[in-house]
Symmetry: C2
Subunit: 331 residues, 2 copies
């Protein structure tokens, strides 16, 4: 049987209340009993039952991390950031994903908000509507939204427009007249921001945006990259640079396809990706790309949520992080 406060109390000849106070480091305990109790606790190898404690304090000391998809390296990196910072923190991380679930997102949010299983949540993902997020505000569950600006909840995100702008300007600066842009349908919000940055950069250089040079792919995969380069080159052979906010895997697919088509990268075609995944260094030529500060986002998120939970109003409501433009061989 597990050892409880009572067991210690009995041995020490005191009451469970006293033991509780000692365990929790409360003041006004005589040095004698404190030491005695601590000693016995150690002997008995006592650990508090966190469930019982949670019921009494109405705090679970757990935070829920909701991710859209564990298969995404982007998400994983953020999770890493959360966990590694979380080391200094006494909150347990519970993992939930919203893909292919039997319950939909709203139901999950609802449940998490009401079951009292967690004290707060970190929500990764751009694919959730403000409306669905309302539940956390309504139930006053502390929440940090990651990777997307959010009007009704605190959030930490990257300056996607800025990142895209920098990349595009770089390409234009290299003398490219026709810079195509490949976006991904799936991610709605960041795509819009990146597209905006692309447009701004063009306009800055007196080049109006040409709708025809914007291509859409279904998903961030190599295969889609292969296909889209075909499409681009057959229809617009004059394109000499491609900016790929859709993601690095698409960019890698483009580079591979270029080789097959006998197009030399970067000489005849410059390619810039988005994300900086591990593969960006593997492909040859290695991929110039817009790196997102994923670890940092996770780090901010966990710190922000903990601050909230501990009542430290860090004051930070929104944190915008900057991307970093990584120049490699593909440009």
């Amino acid at each position: 049987m597990a050892v409880t406060l009572k067991d210690i109390a009995k041995r020490a000849g005191v009451t469970a209340a006293t033991v509780s106070m000692v365990i929790n480091g409360k003041p006004n305990i005589s040095e004698g009993t404190r030491k005695k109790i601590l000693k016995i606790a150690k002997e008995l190898n006592y650990y508090p039952n966190v469930i019982a404690r949670g019921l009494a304090t109405r705090k679970s000391n757990a935070i829920g991390v909701i991710v859209p998809n564990l298969a995404s390296s982007f998400v994983i990196r953020i999770l890493q950031g959360i966990k590694s910072t979380n080391r200094d923190v006494d909150y347990t991380v519970q993992l939930f994903d919203t893909i292919g679930q039997k319950e939909n997102e709203s139901q999950l949010f609802q449940r998490l908000a009401r079951e009292r299983r967690i004290d707060g949540v970190i929500l990764i993902g751009a694919l959730v509507s403000d409306e669905e997020l309302h539940i956390f505000r309504d139930e006053s569950v502390p929440c940090i939204v990651v990777a997307r600006k959010c009007d009704i909840l605190d959030s930490v995100y990257v300056d996607n427009a800025g990142g895209a702008k920098e990349a595009t300007q770089y390409l234009i600066g290299k003398g490219h007249e026709k810079v195509a842009c490949v976006i991904c349908k799936k991610q709605n919000l960041p795509t819009a921001d990146r597209l905006r940055g692309y447009r701004e950069a063009l306009e800055l250089h007196g080049k109006p945006l040409t709708e025809e040079l914007i291509f859409e792919v279904e998903d961030d995969t190599m295969a889609h990259g292969n296909a889209v380069l075909n499409e681009i080159k057959t229809n617009y052979p004059e394109v000499t640079a491609i900016f790929v906010p859709a993601g690095d895997m698409v960019a890698i697919g483009i580079i591979k396809q270029a080789k097959i088509m006998g197009i030399s990268v970067p000489n005849q075609l410059a390619v810039v990706g988005y994300d900086d995944i591990p593969g960006a260094e593997i492909i040859e030529p290695s991929l110039t790309t817009v790196r997102q500060p994923k670890l940092e986002m996770g780090d901010y998120a966990i710190n922000m949520i903990v601050d909230k939970l501990e009542g430290r109003e860090s004051g930070i409501k929104h944190k915008e992080l900057q991307t970093k433009f990584i120049v490699r061989e593909s440009t």
Copy 2:
């Protein structure tokens, strides 16, 4: 304030006990009250307080997943397997990592075993000694060890010796006389198994193992791959094939370095990796490798632990999964 059983009870003119029984689908409730209570519960948007329930039932309905390192794609894939199967299951996943923690592994295990926070644990990682695992048996916390055979606890793992043997035989079958082997110091147990498979394959073909052809690297990184090829080629230029149980990143590093050194892969040098990471398809030539069934391991692990927790003694104590040899361009 959160709505509780009592609130429903009051409204329905019954006792909390009755409501509890209805919520939990217990028998012997009149259809009338059942319906009434369910209706009220829905109106009030009632969700049970899982903490209170946990205290009463002495079950948290959570399982802890202990990972060595979230940065490892190997670990992540297993985690994915766990989570995706977990969808059909009413257990919450709590994530713990054992790297760079303020408490060491034994302390973590101890705490998890005694805090009653989780009902069972899935432990990923080959780097833990049997001794440290004893705590779970001693405290009778259901536990599944993943990616390593374990004598004192149930486990699911891959046939590393078999995978290595197949890979080595393949190389020998291709006519390679001198097959070097690059292992990684860090992972102890699987390394030994893979090395055994390598040796068995050699002996099967009447080639005794040459200690000099076994090379060690510190870590599974490209840089170590670069370095080790240098080492191999300067000391043993007669080597025409390298089997790299150390991992795909090392193998990729070797391929890259080969290009720099003007060695053609696979013509002058065949390379076989281990793991099948995403980058294996990106590198050119793409990497022949030994794929581990990571998702499957996660899948088995979660099923096994749930079976245990539900009292279904699935009978499975140990599950050995087979690797799959993936032939690509590097051989």
